[in-house]
């Protein structure tokens, strides 16, 4: 498993791991039952502390994206499409909310934001 971690980001290393492993599980590049590197192996290969990987794996386990088997290590979990959709919705909500709040603070109206988003979506679709 290859991750792209950087110190030059506001995003803490722990969150970078969570986000990138999550994307791999949700996109299917890690399939249900695929094994993940051990905590110590990943720490060593990515040059990050064991505690950082441990916390990230714990968070991914709580999200239901990976699971551990005693003595065998960590594995990607099977995610059904409903859960996938829910998680994607949650993720987009988390990202969009602060952006909208910021736009409101800078004086935009709800109506203006709505129009902007619609136009943006249209250009992405087209």
């Amino acid at each position: 498993m290859i991750l792209n971690l950087t110190d030059l980001s506001d995003e803490p290393l722990q969150s970078q791991i969570i986000r990138q492993v999550r994307a791999k599980v949700l996109s299917g590049s890690l399939k249900a039952g695929d094994s993940l590197p051990s905590i110590r192996k990943l720490a060593s290969s990515q040059k990050i502390s064991v505690i950082t990987v441990q916390r990230a794996y714990e968070a991914l386990e709580r999200e239901g994206l990976i699971h551990s088997r005693r003595g065998k290590g960590f594995f990607a979990s099977g995610i059904n499409s409903d859960t996938k959709k829910e998680m994607a919705e949650l993720r987009i909500q988390e990202k969009i909310e602060p952006i909208i709040k910021n736009a409101l603070a800078e004086g935009m109206s709800i109506k203006e934001i709505e129009t902007l988003v619609k136009e943006l979506l249209k250009s992405i679709e087209g």
Partner: protein, 294 residues
């Protein structure tokens, strides 16, 4: 499993300087960064740990055994690298290693050779002719060839160039792949151990200010900015506060409780950013006001 290191009420005194009482442990499988400014007592701690100095009171245990200089059991479990890198100057690297190897039953020539190859070191070269970086490499090889369970590093990368630092850290990451090993790493440069350490301990003027998990520290410390017309705010956890008009920028060591207090004051429009270990270290060591000590 026994703690790799246990400091128990340990005090070391010189005229005009007192270290301790130190009370802390390091579990196997973990890397502890021991951070303090020059003269804070890091090297004294190291010397007490390796048995070069005897404490006035209290004791140090290494894997459950008091580190009595006359006993050898615990010594075979540790590897030590200081910043001095002391060798027999007119001997070759190989001869120096051969000499040290006789003191360690678990010494592996193969392990030493592997590291020599990996570090691209000329084993036949006289130590006196080595560069500072290559001396440091030789120290690390000497400390690792007997496969110690506890690696003790006293500012080992002081004055080394970035390439050698990175080679050095790569080896440390491999050491800690084995969960029965532990690393105790002292430094005044926090950036060099940011990614390696699981736990951090801060030492100032001979006393331990704080020992905590790195991730916990990074989660708890934040810079928060917000606006308030009330200038007489009493917020918990705040270690620094700047006000300009109604604009506040504060630093907190307890994000959760500061955030709760802000919500109770109906201040919800905040932006928050994390602090680097370096920033946090400066606050803890140079006593931004109210920093809690242990």
């Amino acid at each position: 499993m026994e703690d790799a290191i246990q400091f128990e009420k340990m005090i070391k005194e010189f005229s005009g300087f007192k270290l301790g009482p130190l009370n802390f442990t390091l579990e196997p499988g973990k890397v502890l960064g021991y951070i303090g400014p020059n003269g804070s007592g890091k090297t004294t701690t190291m010397q007490c740990l390796t048995g070069l100095l005897r404490p006035e009171s209290g004791y140090v245990k290494i894997f459950g055994e008091v580190n009595d200089p006359n006993e050898t059991g615990w010594k075979s479990k540790i590897g030590y690298v200081g910043d001095k890198h002391v060798f027999y100057e007119n001997w070759s690297c190989a001869r120096n290693l051969k000499f040290v190897s006789q003191f360690y039953p678990s010494w592996s020539d193969k392990r030493a050779e592997d590291l020599i190859k990996r570090f691209d070191l000329d084993a036949n070269k006289e130590v006196a002719k080595l560069s500072k970086g290559n001396r440091a490499k030789l120290s690390l090889i000497q400390a690792l060839a007997h496969d110690p369970q506890l690696l003790i590093l006293d500012e080992p990368m002081d004055g080394l160039d970035p390439v050698i630092r990175s080679e050095f850290t790569n080896v440390l990451f491999e050491v800690i792949e084995n969960e029965e090993r532990a690393i105790f790493y002292s430094t005044h440069i926090t950036s060099e151990i940011g990614r390696l350490c699981d736990e951090l301990a801060f030492l100032d003027n001979g006393s331990l200010k704080l020992k905590t998990e790195k991730e916990t520290l990074l989660e708890k410390w934040r810079t928060i900015s917000f606006q308030s017309t009330n200038h007489d705010l009493k917020l918990p956890g705040v270690v620094e506060q700047k006000v300009s008009g109604n604009e506040f920028i504060i630093k907190t060591q307890d994000f959760e409780s500061t955030l709760t207090a802000l919500r109770e004051l109906s201040i919800s429009d905040i932006t928050e950013t994390r602090l680097s270990i370096e920033d946090i270290a400066i606050h803890i060591l140079k006593g931004g006001r109210n920093v809690e000590s242990l």
